[in-house]
Symmetry: C2
Subunit: 297 residues, 2 copies
């Protein structure tokens, strides 16, 4: 088996400095520190430097009265992001997708943390337990209700994304909203009361009618739309008879290693267009192509 691959949106050298989040004096000192940097966002999109890295400004650039969250330290400098931008985090703008294409993975990883955090605050100003307006605590990493005292933490939603393998081929699917020719690995949210392995089996049964065994973990990645933890797996399918859930998928097809390799190489004659390099579906397909034939199923 080859080494664990490195997916996009990972590798940030951000030191999150968790121990400072509970220390208001330390946070106040960092907010007065001229070395502190503020992540430059336009809405929820990053702005890039000439070198296609994240753009940082000084804390004075923050909108008047904006709360700041401490992202942590990078290159020894305190890093903040302003809370309170308005747009919803579900959508992905064209320039956002361009940024993910251009940014080094470690930069995209830092951005992912900031985007998910800002967006979570935007959509969680009220206490889910009692309906009161909540207050920001822990240097931007939680909210607390002044009425019922409930604490609320940013959501991280685990999602399984997986290849079912049978007889040297893997199943790929497409949703109707995908660009033309685009196929990817099947995916779905992990529900309460199930393991990663059980979620993989359930989703492949629901979406494609497949019965699988031998579910194996491959890699993981944060995905800030709005705040998923992508968990990539492979599983052995009992047979290749697919029953498609047409509410979820428009089409599905089994592809060989040669076919997947040609798609990853952007070959115009490939049977499909592959996921973008920074998506873990790409990492998963690349990993599968690099396996010895029969290593898994």
């Amino acid at each position: 088996m080859t080494d664990t691959p490195r997916p996009g949106l990972t590798g940030s050298s951000l030191d999150r400095a968790d121990h400072l989040r509970e220390d208001p004096d330390a946070i106040a000192a960092l907010r007065g520190d001229l070395r502190s940097r503020l992540l430059v966002l336009d809405g929820l999109d990053p702005m890039l430097t000439d070198d296609f890295t994240l753009q940082w400004g000084s804390l004075a650039d923050a909108p008047a009265g904006a709360d700041l969250a401490l992202l942590g330290f990078l290159d020894g400098k305190p890093r903040f992001v302003a809370l309170g931008e308005a747009p919803s985090g579900f959508g992905r703008s064209a320039r956002m997708m361009q940024a993910l294409d251009l940014l080094p993975y470690e930069e995209a990883s830092t951005f992912a943390a900031a985007r998910s955090l800002v967006d979570w605050h935007n959509r969680h100003s009220f206490c889910a337990q009692c309906g009161s307006t909540t207050e920001i605590i822990r240097a931007g990493w939680a909210r607390q209700c002044p009425s019922c005292s409930a604490q609320h933490f940013p959501r991280t939603d685990p999602v399984v994304i997986m290849l079912a393998e049978h007889d040297g081929r893997v199943l790929l699917g497409r949703q109707s909203r995908f660009p033309p020719r685009f196929y990817s690995a099947l995916a779905g949210f992990v529900e309460v009361g199930e393991s990663v392995e059980e979620a993989v089996a359930r989703e492949l049964k629901e979406e494609a009618g497949l019965t699988v065994s031998n579910v194996r973990y491959v890699a993981s990645q944060p995905w800030p739309f709005p705040s998923s933890l992508m968990i990539a797996c492979v599983a052995a399918a009992r047979d290749d008879a697919v029953t498609l859930d047409t509410n979820e998928l428009e089409a599905a097809m089994w592809c060989s290693r040669a076919e997947v390799a040609s798609a990853l190489a952007d070959d115009p004659d490939a049977p499909f267009r592959a996921p973008n390099h920074y998506a873990i579906a790409h990492t998963l397909l690349r990993w599968w192509v690099d396996q010895h034939v029969g290593a898994f199923a």
Copy 2:
């Protein structure tokens, strides 16, 4: 490497019947079906049969006016749970812990789904986006806000739980709230913007001052207190010099395979008391003991 182990609280044969959740007519028919069963809970605790399995009643046993969530199908019978019980899901009663000790894993797994779902509704009656009272939709698997239309889904919080390994020993820690002599694997929530592997490295650095590499996934488990997805890993520590975060841990120690094996065997001379059999920390330690020496670090 040995096969993927089977942790506690997994293996339910519940068919969640996701496609029915959006079909109010089908749900209404199931609610009128005499074969439908209601999970018996006292607060958030399960009640057991003579055979130490989950106790099920008829839908007529539900409190008057209670909403019912469709858990799915077991043994061909529709299975529901009543929503609206009051207590908070963070605590664990003594009889709850006894139930987890007694229940077969597949029964505990079904219960875990029900408990997390009921508890999530208890603590999420209001819209986090606008503060309005929300309504139950999708047969109990989501809530929707009548004011701003936001949909809210049950939380599943990924948690990494891990063994740092160095020179044939693994690091175990204890919190001050643990019972006497009890040690377990270190653990922490995955934050937005990080992968499983990065969360493992961050937590081991924060809690024990360790620098690790070669993080490997071992197994996963749902943990319904209130709704975690436990992701068990091992990692290779650069050295064994521990700097303890005393806010998180009261003590930590490196243990050999022989020491861990004696604790798992409940040997009174073992250097610590091991986690309960149904906790994934137990699975992880058992798995590690069964590895060939040097397979990992």
